[in-house]
């Protein structure tokens, strides 16, 4: 029978450790994938955001490895309708009902895998040039700054990035949020047709 990947390895290690310590099977189970903080509560998220938050599609954002404070702010913004999304508003309320801190902790602990969506090289090249202005906040490699709740853009799903840039430009994402003012001002100077290039570039970063 083939191995089941990382969870199996984790469990195998847990079993080995528990055997060394003479612990029972139930103690070994405590280290199983289901007993990670928030894992069970995050069970519905994978339908769109991928297993452990690593979306493999262009339109759905990767939420693995997100800073917990940033994650929580987004869930609260979706639930209150500040961040408009008919898809996310109900789910955000569900997450708040279950306990957002647990779910945030689960995704923060999940290793982020870059998007598998590839973009044409010329689009990436144009995006690299256009991205100079973004680096001031998001960093030279799009890595973001968790302390300032500025998310990493590197390896993010390009379709999602493109849609968010459009929402920023039209001031339809969290209107009035002072933390987003500079990003929105910048996006207003970017022609719509450059969004795909910027998204391609940031999606390609590792």
């Amino acid at each position: 029978m083939s191995a089941a990947g990382r969870p199996l390895l984790r469990l195998t290690l847990a079993v080995a450790v528990s055997m060394l310590l003479g612990a029972s099977w139930s103690a070994a189970e405590a280290a199983g994938p289901l007993d990670q903080r928030g894992a069970a509560k995050a069970v519905t998220c994978s339908a769109c955001h991928g297993v452990a938050g690593n979306s493999r599609s262009a339109a759905m954002p990767i939420i693995a490895g997100l800073d917990p404070a940033y994650f929580k702010k987004q869930i609260e913004a979706y639930a209150s309708g500040k961040r408009l999304s008919p898809e996310m508003e109900p789910y955000a309320k569900q997450v708040l009902d279950m306990g957002v801190d647990d779910v945030a902790a689960y995704f923060a602990a999940s290793p982020r895998q870059a998007t598998p969506i590839t973009s044409p090289a010329d689009s990436i090249a144009r995006g690299r040039t256009a991205a100079a202005a973004c680096a001031a906040c998001h960093g030279p490699q799009g890595q973001g700054d968790a302390a300032k709740q500025i998310p990493s853009l590197a390896g993010q799903a390009p379709g999602y990035l493109r849609e968010q840039m459009l929402l920023f430009k039209q001031d339809r994402r969290s209107p009035g949020d002072p933390a987003l003012a500079s990003a929105k001002a910048l996006m207003k100077t970017v022609p719509d047709e450059s969004f795909a290039d910027l998204a391609a570039y940031y999606g390609s970063l590792r």
Partner: protein, 421 residues
């Protein structure tokens, strides 16, 4: 039902002879009898490899690799019902919705491409032909079967009057019938009374057939005979979308009771309507195995389950997921089946390990296409309250748009992987 031969079983599961107790030489063509694969540890058997069953099988293995999982599914490939209305309209190919089960095998799921013929709850056995498999817990994800007897003329004309309500050969055949229909022809679509698989599906089909006709056969007409009193899902959004399709003649409260291919007529309680191409979506009930195993309720159609563990209220140790269930305030959708599969996997693993099952609610994201490039969506969030699933909120997209369609594509890519990869 073809008897399961030892060779077929070995081929289907990749098991070596060593795994079969008391096995005679491979190549024996007589029917398997007795225990097909004796259990060596805790085992979950899953019947049905659709959205609910495939997800449950995968996640039991992810959550506890020491639990053996055997999935029984007669089809060798998974074909997605979501997006299959795009195949009817020629916007996508059936191949783009067709996937194999190798991803599940990589998680250590053993797959038997056969039909489970019976369940024996007292001895915890699933019958396959003349053999059986033992289980500690059973997950049944039987999907739906059609109640052909509800429409006169349907049972004896299944090759001519298509349902195309299980994505596969019929989807392709109906697309061919539509493409071959002369311009000026009449396409009749019949919608059964709720509950049936995919509440907005018939209205998405209406939109996509209307779009196809408007684009390719502008003198043609689509008559929709809906047994329900009104559009039962995303009604305002579909009504808005249909303003672009004057070729739709939508008739609510019109239950089709008969069909006659020799005269090309369908019959409602009040009317006879001539067609060039007909698509009758028949009334439905839980898949046959659920009826055989007495998992269905007094209505003889659907299965009542515990809202937290999805254990049958009638048969302990047997969990039912997906479209076959009833009593939860959730639609019969692929997304719900996927959520039920994961929640059930978490509960089954907990129960096998002597732990209390988690209390988790499902969620539903449901996209519908209204043209070749635009879609709409409805999303439902739930919580568990006093042991029951309760809706927190339902939200619709404000309007149809290409952006929603892009997210619909993203949803399929993510959820197909969640089910199968």
């Amino acid at each position: 039902m073809r008897a399961l031969t030892r060779r077929a079983f070995l081929r289907a599961t990749g098991l070596g002879l060593g795994a079969l107790a008391g096995g005679t030489a491979a190549g024996c063509t007589s029917s398997m009898k007795g225990d097909i694969a004796p259990k060596s540890g805790p085992r979950v058997v899953v019947i049905g490899g659709g959205w609910g069953g495939a997800t449950a099988a995968k996640y039991v293995r992810l959550y506890d690799p020491k639990v053996e999982v055997v999935l029984i599914e007669s089809n060798r490939q998974f074909i997605s019902c979501p997006f299959s209305n795009l195949v009817l309209a020629g916007v996508r190919t059936i191949d783009s919705l067709t996937m194999g089960y190798d991803g599940l095998r990589k998680h250590g799921v053993r797959i038997i491409h056969e039909t489970a013929t019976a369940i024996e709850p007292d001895t915890k056995r699933v019958r396959i032909g003349e053999g059986y498999l033992q289980y500690d817990r059973l997950v049944v994800s039987p999907g739906v079967d059609f109640q052909l007897e509800q429409v006169e003329g349907l049972a004896q004309n299944q090759d001519k009057v298509l349902h195309a309500w299980k994505a596969g050969p019929q989807t392709v055949q109906l697309a061919q019938q539509l493409a071959a229909m002369p311009d000026g022809g009449v396409f009749v679509l019949s919608i059964p009374l709720a509950a049936y698989r995919c509440p907005p599906g018939p209205y998405e089909r209406t939109s996509m057939v209307a779009w196809y006709l408007k684009t390719n056969k502008p003198r043609s007409k689509l008559i929709v005979l809906d047994a329900n009193q009104n559009i039962i899902s995303k009604a305002a959004l579909f009504r808005t979308a249909w303003q672009a399709y004057p070729n739709i003649d939508y008739r609510p409260a019109s239950r089709v009771i008969g069909v006659d291919p020799s005269t090309r007529e369908v019959r409602t309680e009040f009317d006879r309507i001539r067609y060039d191409v007909v698509n009758v979506i028949p009334p439905q009930r839980a898949g046959a195995i659920a009826v055989q195993a007495d998992l269905v309720g007094g209505d003889k159609r659907w299965c009542e389950v515990n809202h937290v563990t999805y254990e049958s209220v009638k048969q302990p140790g047997i969990h039912v997921v997906g479209d076959a269930t009833i009593g939860l305030p959730v639609p019969k959708s692929g997304n719900i089946a996927n959520a039920m599969g994961k929640i059930t996997a978490a509960c089954v693993v907990s129960l096998i390990n002597g732990q209390a099952p988690p209390s988790l609610a499902p969620g539903n994201t449901c996209y519908s296409w209204v043209s070749d490039r635009e879609a709409i969506a409805v999303v439902n969030a739930y919580k568990i309250e006093a042991g029951k699933v309760v809706q927190i909120e339902q939200k619709l997209t404000p309007a149809q748009s290409p952006l929603v369609a892009q997210r619909a594509i993203g949803w399929t890519q993510s959820i197909w992987a969640d089910v199968l990869a």
